[in-house]
Subunit: 206 residues, 2 copies
């Protein structure tokens, strides 16, 4: 229900589901499902090759798309969102890269696409740690790291991300694909020619 | 991947997946998942009650949303779409009603919503058998059965369904929700305030 966007606006994994979510995330099925998604993405990207003018672009979300917060959510047993604790975790810059997405990142770059990393993380508080974390996790040579500037604080993810994607389109980029773990990454304006959802049963971002 | 709309444009269930699809559809998980979807739908509908002016509406797809084609696809082992064989099956008018959706249908009607059944089935060839099948399956008292008229033959599902939903909106209806087993039921114009995807690993309609 979460993956199909039928279940929305949930604040925490319901207690009877915690064991299932833990098992799904921890015993390999999650990683296999992300790999299935990146296989689909790579196949689509190879069918719509970059034109060579440097304007064909992909947009990738960061949290639980490129970088994993699984260690953090395992430690807190998948409880509700806690902004202070999450900021402390993210500022350490130790989120593991998600292997299938690291591979996809390099496949897209190798295919001549511009890659924009677009995240609702606060630019001022987490900009430096996020950049360092991405580099350590194998994401090097992306075209732009776009985080939430002060102007978008308190705005919904759809509003912020739509505005940033529109800016890219106005600069002339063609967003060929858009990858995220939240439906709010993939809805709104200038969403991209195709969108791809990677699984995330841990939390919901409106 | 299918439920998240990552895998698109597939023509038949891949051979290694046939056993999984058969088991999913036949051993109860499919029915439980449809029930989970209708629980979400009923909860949402109760939060946005009908205004009482007779203009709050829901749109439901028919094939594998209200009526099940599972017997047909089981018999053909989930092979590729065969228009002639499907028409022969549908014209018998013996598709079972999907129990959770029959309950939802009556819940929506009881809540004062208009219910429109919108299907890409050919109106001329299948109109009479579809109406009889719906009645036999427990769907009685819907507001309109909208099938594909000759003008939309050969059009994609998104084009046809968008045009028909737009017509409802122009008549003054507010589409509060839209339920389908295909993403093409749920995308395009006037899709509704919220859309709900019910599972269907058997086939893909572009």
């Amino acid at each position: 229900m979460v993956e199909a966007n039928n279940a929305k606006y949930w604040r925490a994994v319901p207690a009877p589901c915690v064991g299932y979510v833990w098992a799904y995330m921890s015993w390999g099925q999650y990683g296999r499902d992300v790999s299935s998604a990146t296989d689909q993405i790579a196949a689509y990207a190879s069918q719509t090759p970059a034109a060579g003018d440097g304007l064909d672009a992909w947009v990738l979300d960061i949290d639980d798309t490129c970088l994993s917060n699984l260690p953090y959510y395992q430690a807190k047993q998948f409880g509700a969102y806690d902004p202070t604790a999450f900021k402390a975790w993210a500022s350490r810059g130790t989120c593991p890269g998600i292997p299938a997405m690291v591979r996809l990142f390099w496949t897209l770059k190798g295919g001549g696409f511009r890659v924009f990393l677009l995240s609702g993380r606060d630019e001022e508080a987490l900009g430096a740690s996020t950049a360092a974390n991405l580099a350590a996790a194998g994401f090097a040579g992306y075209d732009r790291l776009i985080l939430r500037s002060a102007a978008y604080r308190g705005q919904s993810s759809v509003v912020f991300k739509s505005a940033e994607r529109r800016r890219l389109v106005e600069e002339g980029y063609r967003i060929r694909g858009n990858v995220g773990d939240q439906w709010s990454d993939l809805q709104g304006d200038c969403a991209g020619d195709r969108v791809f959802k990677v699984p995330n049963p841990m939390y919901f971002v409106p």
